[in-house]
């Protein structure tokens, strides 16, 4: 680390042009691709209208890269490929070559360095990654650890294409859920209202904003021990933790009572069905570092059922729509409880108002 640099007016250059760092064959055929197929898991083969072909090898990473990994990976890309890399939205690297014969050595080189090649097509690709205890100010769990534990388990599914369709898993380290919707989402669910650290409220907290932030209006301003503080109506509070980021004295995280919940069937694509939100399937799962085995078990139960029962091209959500939620709970052996019945605004629309029932 160096001495302090003196202020300089920034060049507001914005988003850099991607073209300048792009593989030449991408540039040449920009907007003119014809079709693709997948010669093997982890490899995409795109054919351009010009007749050009390109093979892209997809490599799993742990997102947070240091100089060692960067050199290791870039050396491979320089030696076995053409010196260009792109990253996917899921922190996978994509390395392209225009010569088919280079594919196998490239894969070999990645594998020799311990990096898995896969994540394409109907595989389970890299789990979406958030900050967790490493960096965020509000997490109830870690991100990198959860991802590593699960990807260890899912490694074989990453490097092969044996699922009915692509599987997108997301994790998030608090209920805010930066990881987003997923075929399977592993999220935090608090089960106790925040403990208010009244001593800190007066300083650390803009009280009107916190009051406004609560989705169920459970917070009201109050004077506690003579100081302005807040009060929670615990009967109303749904333990969502939304008050915690704007007001750290609203201590929501709890080693015991911040549990994991698993959600299923989120889908962003418009293929076949319209985009769908994920739905709660399991909760009360201990937040158990370093390997979160209880959460992993739930995820594996779901994946096994999906793998066995779903049809080609059915995303997790499509599959459950077809077989119905009762069957989902039957096949995964997960318990169904009153908590599965939605209670939020518009909950009426989630009730089965039909005789469409499977037996």
């Amino acid at each position: 680390m160096t001495e302090k640099a003196k202020p300089r007016t920034p060049i507001e250059s914005g988003v850099p042009d991607g073209m300048q760092y792009m593989h030449p064959v991408y540039l040449k055929n920009f907007g003119n691709w014809k079709y693709h197929d997948r010669p093997r898991p982890g490899v995409l083969h795109h054919v351009a209208k010009s007749g050009d072909e390109v093979w892209t090898v997809r490599v799993g990473t742990h997102r947070q890269l240091g100089p060692y990994e960067i050199d290791l990976l870039c050396d491979i890309v320089d030696k076995y490929a053409d010196g260009f890399v792109r990253f996917t939205i899921r922190s996978n690297m994509e390395v392209s070559v225009t010569d088919e014969s280079k594919v196998a050595p490239l894969i070999q080189a990645f594998n020799d360095a311990g990096y898995p090649v896969g994540g394409t097509g109907n595989s389970i690709t890299m789990i979406s990654h958030t900050q967790g205890w490493l960096h965020c100010d509000i997490p109830a769990t870690d991100a990198a650890g959860v991802v590593k534990s699960l990807m260890d388990e899912l490694h074989d599914e990453f490097i092969s294409e044996q699922m009915p369709n692509r599987v997108h898993i997301t994790t998030s380290c608090c209920q805010i859920n930066c990881g987003g919707q997923g075929d399977i989402a592993i999220n935090i669910q608090h089960t106790k209202p925040p403990k208010i650290n009244h001593d800190l409220v007066a300083n650390a907290c803009e009280r009107p904003s916190v009051v406004a932030r609560c989705p169920v209006a459970a917070i009201r301003p109050a004077i506690v021990n003579g100081k302005p503080s807040l009060e929670i109506d615990e009967k109303k509070c749904i333990c969502c933790g939304a008050c915690f980021p704007p007001c750290p004295p609203m201590q929501i995280n709890d080693p015991e009572h911040s549990k994991l919940a698993v959600w299923v069937g989120g889908k962003n694509s418009n293929a076949r069905s319209k985009p769908m939100f994920h739905k709660l399937v399991a909760a009360g799962i201990p937040n158990n570092p370093p390997r979160w085995i209880e959460a992993k078990d739930v995820v594996m139960q779901i994946l096994h059922a999906y793998k066995k029962d779903a049809r080609d091209w059915e995303r997790m959500g499509d599959w459950v729509e077809r077989i119905g939620w009762p069957r989902f709970f039957e096949l995964t052996e997960l318990p169904f409880t009153k908590f599965h019945v939605d209670t939020w605004r518009g909950a009426r629309h989630t009730l089965n108002a039909s005789t469409h029932i499977r037996f």
Binding site: K6, H46, T61, D71, N177, G179, P215, R272
Partner: protein
């Protein structure tokens, strides 16, 4: 796991003690150590290698191990910025104090993240990546996340003093800070036109056009809350734009999809008729596909909703049409306050060819951000505002006419007052006549 054949060129490699550059001894990290093994590359090995390089990472590992034990996080926010900008840095100060009231892991007492926008489409040369790595070793922990969920390169771990130097250096070689706080945020576009046959628009151009038009709103956060753009080249929506962007721009086409009947037949031959019926014909959401008795395919293009399914399955036989453009949706976001929202169609179709077309898109974004900035409550995302004021009022605010493509279906509730029905009918008729 078998022993790697070349351990020094392997992701499990930890340099020997002799190569250690950091001056602090490493902490015992029994919890984290359990994450070293297993077939997936381990971030713990990564952390250890970084801790060999600098003391900040030694202490960072100490605090992280502590979190694993207590199941609690220990960072708090604060205010750190670079000269001229208000956002783009996520400052972190440790809250983990010893009995003496001093940080238990003092070298990591500050551990800020710098968000930098990557090249559109996340294309890199290895040179560029190596350059980032060396700059960050100078000013920070050396740990770089490719990428954050919003699309930033996250340079994780530095103190306040090093922020400006780091920025100045990357800024000089062409990079700018991303968004944080109540601001326009860093955006993403899919690989799209660069390498995907489904692409119906120039994703990178759209992304750059929009974000670069709002750099002031990105760098000097003063909006009601965050605002995200995301761009996908087709309905597969590989950047999750509908659910994760305040404004989603998605490529589509208006004319007939292209069918190569020869390839259709070849596909049927390889897979069987039954397979095609069960996996393609009967999966079309609008029954727009029909298999003819001679194994050709009829597409009812008027009723195809461009969902991409059949094209995804028969990549060689089917492809998007030629009359391409984009659909714009607004209001997607995650869960806070009103529950998750998805974007709603605001512009069913617009061409993006001429400069005027692109200007029109920019104008829509401008009108939207202006109207939202003026009318949203504090910390209210665009989608929450639409939900609160109603789609129609929002449309009036951004001067876009109501269109039946914006809804799944017309109202089912008769609880509405329609005195001005005739006026509204006139508006529609005038619009129709004008076309």
């Amino acid at each position: 796991m078998a022993q790697p054949k070349n351990p020094e060129k392997h992701c499990t490699y930890i340099p020997p003690e002799s190569e250690k550059k950091s001056s602090k001894p490493m902490y015992d990290t029994p919890m984290l150590d359990q994450l070293v093994d297993g077939p997936w590359p381990s971030f713990v090995s990564g952390l250890k290698r970084l801790a060999m390089n600098n003391n900040m990472m030694v202490d960072l590992m100490g605090q992280l191990e502590h979190s694993y034990n207590t199941r609690l996080g220990y960072w708090k926010g604060g205010t750190v910025s670079i000269f001229g900008y208000g956002g783009g840095i996520i400052p972190r100060f440790t809250e983990l104090m010893g009995d003496d009231g001093e940080p238990m892991f003092p070298e990591a007492r500050e551990f800020h993240t710098v968000r930098v926008m990557p090249p559109a489409g996340m294309h890199y040369s290895t040179d560029l990546i190596r350059k980032f790595s060396s700059t960050w070793q100078k000013y920070g922990s050396g740990m770089i996340a490719f990428h954050g969920q919003s699309g930033d390169i996250m340079f994780i771990g530095t103190d306040t003093d090093n922020i400006q130097g780091f920025f100045d250096e990357v800024n000089e070689y062409g990079f700018d800070l991303g968004g944080a706080g109540p601001a326009v945020r860093t955006s993403m576009s899919c690989v799209g036109a660069a390498r995907c046959e489904h692409s119906c628009t120039n994703e990178q151009k759209v992304q750059r056009l929009l974000v670069n038009n709002f750099l002031d709103d990105m760098h000097r956060p003063a909006l009601p809350y965050k605002f995200k753009f995301k761009v996908s080249g087709c309905s597969n929506d590989c950047v999750n734009s509908i659910q994760r962007a305040d404004m989603a721009i998605i490529g589509t086409w208006r004319d007939d999809m292209k069918v190569d009947q020869g390839e259709v037949k070849a596909f049927i031959k390889s897979k069987s008729r039954k397979y095609v019926i069960d996996n393609i014909i009967s999966r079309c959401p609008t029954n727009a596909l029909s298999l003819n008795d001679d194994d050709t395919l009829s597409v009812d293009n008027r009723n195809c909703v461009r969902c991409m399914h059949c094209i995804n399955v028969m990549t060689k036989a089917l492809s998007p049409g030629d009359d391409r453009g984009v659909t714009v949706l607004m209001g997607g976001k995650r869960t806070l306050k009103i529950g998750d929202t998805m974007g709603t169609v605001i512009v069913p179709f617009m061409k993006l060819e001429s400069d005027e077309d692109y200007d029109a898109l920019k104008e829509i974004a401008e009108n939207t951000i202006d109207f939202w900035a003026e009318n949203a409550l504090e910390h209210e995302r665009c989608g929450e505002m639409i939900d609160r004021i109603g789609l129609v009022n929002f449309l009036e605010g951004i001067e876009i006419d109501v269109d039946p493509n914006m809804i799944n279906h017309p109202r089912i509730s008769s609880y509405v007052r329609m005195d001005t029905w005739d006026e509204e009918v006139d508006k529609w008729n005038q619009r129709k006549a004008a076309v």
